[in-house]
């Protein structure tokens, strides 16, 4: 025990005190102000145990292990996230820091917190619904992205019904929240290649009918970002099956052809990178071929004049020349 200053509280004591304080805060009785103070104070104590301070090292592994164990047993992580909107500004940031640190903890090759959250998926769903509340959205975002790094947790989120809420979150009017939600959304769809490919294959219709709405969004940023992500997804070799399916649908081709004509040059450019896949496909289904044939001349003329000022971009010019050649050489399938 130190000679000077307050004696160190044990992890069990801090967790217990914090839990009581959060409960008091939740009840919102007269002592709310005192509860708020206690929550902040105990959060700082926990944070210092994990990260250390300018004049104290982080606690030993044993203390941290005890702390983690207490957090799991008391169900405090979920409680904190559920009451995040009631905690003050600094406290919210501390919750996110504590959460991310505990999540990264490893014992050998095991990640105990990941295993714990797998048994308590409400934690993930509560975090995802955090995007509904402006004041906690960004804090939840940092925690979610940390979770998304783990395949097991990403899988739970992807396969949950709540995942489809992201299609709404990425369009909210508050720009920073929408962007944050989009980066989480993108992380979930691209981080674990095999998992994502399987997910997209299995839920193709549902995901892409939602995705269509993003591509048609009123919001310019949403439209542009989602179009860019679509290009990335389709051109990733892991998503080969999804790509072939996507480029077989004439509606998708029509959408891209319309986007090629959008007012925004950036959107035109992104659309080009999706459109090229339809044309380059060596086995074009008849409906696709029909559309291209019907517009053969117009497309050649359009593409010849398309973004001619990008003379620096060799890759783009090569691709464009290739597309023009391909379209010129298109012939209807001869019936046998």
């Amino acid at each position: 025990m130190p000679l000077f200053g307050k004696s160190q509280k044990s992890p069990a004591e801090v967790v217990k005190a914090l839990k009581e304080a959060v409960n008091a805060l939740e009840r919102g009785d007269k002592k709310a102000e005192k509860a708020q103070e206690d929550v902040s104070k105990n959060l700082v104590l926990i944070k210092n145990m994990l990260y250390g301070t300018s004049d104290a090292e982080p606690q030993t592994d044993i203390i941290v292990a005890q702390l983690a164990q207490e957090l799991y047993n008391s169900n405090l992580l979920l409680l904190l996230i559920q009451n995040l909107n009631r905690i003050d500004f600094e406290g919210k940031k501390d919750v996110a820091q504590v959460f991310n640190n505990i999540l990264r903890r490893q014992i050998g090759t095991r990640s105990p917190t990941v295993e714990y959250i797998c048994t308590k998926p409400e934690i993930l769903f509560t975090l995802m619904s955090g995007y509904e509340h402006q004041e906690i959205a960004l804090n939840c975002g940092t925690m979610l992205r940390e979770c998304a790094r783990y395949e097991a947790l990403a899988k739970i989120m992807l396969y949950s019904e709540d995942f489809y809420n992201f299609f709404r979150y990425v369009e909210v009017s508050t720009f920073d929240i929408a962007s944050d939600a989009f980066s989480t959304f993108k992380e979930l769809l691209t981080r674990h290649k095999i998992l994502c490919a399987e997910f997209l294959e299995m839920n193709y219709d549902k995901v892409f009918s939602h995705y269509q709405r993003l591509l048609n969004s009123e919001n310019y940023v949403t439209r542009r970002q989602s179009l860019k992500l679509l290009g990335e997804l389709l051109l990733d070799r892991h998503n080969f099956t999804v790509m072939t399916r996507y480029i077989s649908n004439p509606d998708n081709l029509k959408l891209m052809m319309n986007m090629l004509k959008e007012k925004s040059r950036n959107i035109q450019f992104e659309a080009f990178h999706v459109f090229k896949v339809f044309v380059a496909n060596p086995n074009k289904p008849k409906p696709i071929l029909d559309i291209l044939l019907r517009n053969q001349e117009k497309l050649v003329e359009f593409l010849t004049r398309f973004h001619t000022d990008r003379s620096e971009d060799e890759q783009f010019n090569d691709e464009k020349a290739y597309l023009i050649k391909q379209i010129k050489e298109l012939k209807p399938i001869t019936e046998h």
Partner: protein, 425 residues
């Protein structure tokens, strides 16, 4: 030219003419005869204190907006030099390729074109990025401006006695390699030449996969990753290539080479060896190898998984990620292999600076006296001795203090010059 000093005195004129034709483009060199009577003497002895090294002047040179620095390395394709982007002040490396030289290498031009094409599409923190491509029609040179890297894993391995990394360090590089490789495969690119020599390190220690000279981009609509050609480094090739199969799964080739790389950086050895390429391929083809007993599980099982003779049995990138050794970072030890210093500079400081100094301030005023420009071998040895003594002293970090700076380090670009006082007695 001082006639008394030249050999041509006793030589017929036509020979002199001949010599001047042959050596016309060389620095003028004059020889002194210390024994005129000895006509049979073919080689003339020159005392070491009469050989003069002249420090090469740092003439500031620009290629486009890039200021040239010192040589970083040299490969079959040409030199690599450090440059500074004069607009963004970013340190870069430039690969200088001579078109004439390229034509002499089988598939040389083709490989470079492919490398440029591939690098242009790639953007990942563990893959070297191509910043710019410049041409000089007149000189028939091509300049590939790349991210600046301080060195490669191969040079680091060679700088250590055991030719291997401590496990924690190897783990760090390996996981970055897997990240980069997963990205390449997601873009449909098979690298085909993964080995420590092609894994470079940026200034902050980030690993960069480089050299896409023999890489192959799969067709976007290819159903699988079937490849037909392999031109990578023999010791890192898988059995299916060693056995001369006509087609093979490309991605599994990279997994195998990663396995050999992991084996190599953790043991300092190669799983397969051979006196010549035929023996080597014979051994690889059999697929039999041993892992030194010091390599314990789970690392052992990971290497075994990657070095499976049958491509179908070889583990995938996803399985590597899920492997226990991958998931657990070995405890950091005090052992650490640094990037070997470049020309005695362990800090890898920017080599463009002296050129800029020369350009803006002219000659270094402290180096204006004759002595600093002409150095004899004897003086050089004395200086080396002095320096060694200093380095041996404890607490000395090896850097020379201000007083010792009057000597520019004689770098590789020495030229033998006429010593003004070297007259015959």
């Amino acid at each position: 030219m001082d006639k008394s000093m030249t050999l041509s005195d006793e030589c017929p004129l036509d020979e002199e003419e001949l010599n001047s034709r042959i050596f016309g483009d060389l620095e003028p060199v004059t020889w002194s005869n210390d024994d005129d009577t000895d006509v049979n003497m073919f080689f003339h002895r020159v005392d070491s204190d009469q050989i003069i090294y002249q420090t090469k002047k740092k003439r500031c040179k620009m290629i486009g907006k890039y200021v040239m620095g010192d040589l970083l390395g040299e490969g079959a394709y040409g030199k690599v030099k450090e440059v500074l982007d004069s607009e963004t002040l970013c340190r870069r490396a430039v690969k200088i390729l001579k078109t004439r030289k390229l034509r002499r290498i089988p598939n040389g031009e083709q490989n470079v074109q492919r490398e440029i094409q591939l690098l242009k599409i790639l953007k990942h923190k563990n893959v070297i990025s191509l910043v710019d491509v410049l041409f000089n029609e007149e000189k028939q040179k091509m300049y590939l401006v790349l991210e600046y890297c301080v060195g490669g894993l191969q040079d680091m391995l060679e700088s250590t006695p055991k030719k291997k990394f401590p496990l924690w360090q190897a783990h760090g590089y390996f996981s970055q390699l897997i990240d980069g490789l997963e990205y390449l495969h997601s873009k449909g690119i098979v690298h085909k030449d993964i080995k420590p020599g092609n894994l470079l390190l940026a200034l902050d220690g980030t690993l960069k996969i480089s050299d896409f000279g023999v890489a192959e981009a799969l067709d976007m609509f290819a159903k699988d990753d079937t490849c037909t050609t392999g031109q990578g480094s023999p010791a890192f090739q898988p059995p299916e290539i060693a056995n001369g199969h006509e087609t093979f799964a490309g991605f599994k080739v990279d997994i195998w080479s990663c396995g050999v790389t992991l084996y190599n950086i953790t043991t300092g050895l190669y799983p397969f060896e051979g006196d010549n390429i035929y023996r080597l391929f014979e051994n690889i083809g059999k697929g039999e190898y041993t892992i030194p007993s010091e390599i314990e599980n789970p690392l052992r099982s990971l290497i075994e998984g990657m070095l499976q003779k049958e491509p179908e049995m070889r583990i995938s990138l996803q399985q590597i990620r899920q492997h226990p050794w991958f998931g657990r970072k070995p405890a950091r030890t005090l052992e650490f292999v640094p990037v070997p210093p470049l020309r005695e500079d362990e800090f890898h400081s920017m080599t463009v600076l002296p050129y800029l100094m020369e350009y803006h301030y002219g000659e270094d005023p402290t180096a204006s006296d004759n002595q600093s420009q002409y150095i004899t071998e004897h003086q050089l040895n004395e200086e080396r001795k002095l320096q060694e003594q200093q380095n041996a002293l404890p607490g000395n970090d090896g850097r020379r203090g201000g007083a010792k700076r009057r000597w520019r380090r004689p770098i590789s670009c020495i030229s033998v010059k006429k010593f003004p006082t070297c007259k015959q007695s």
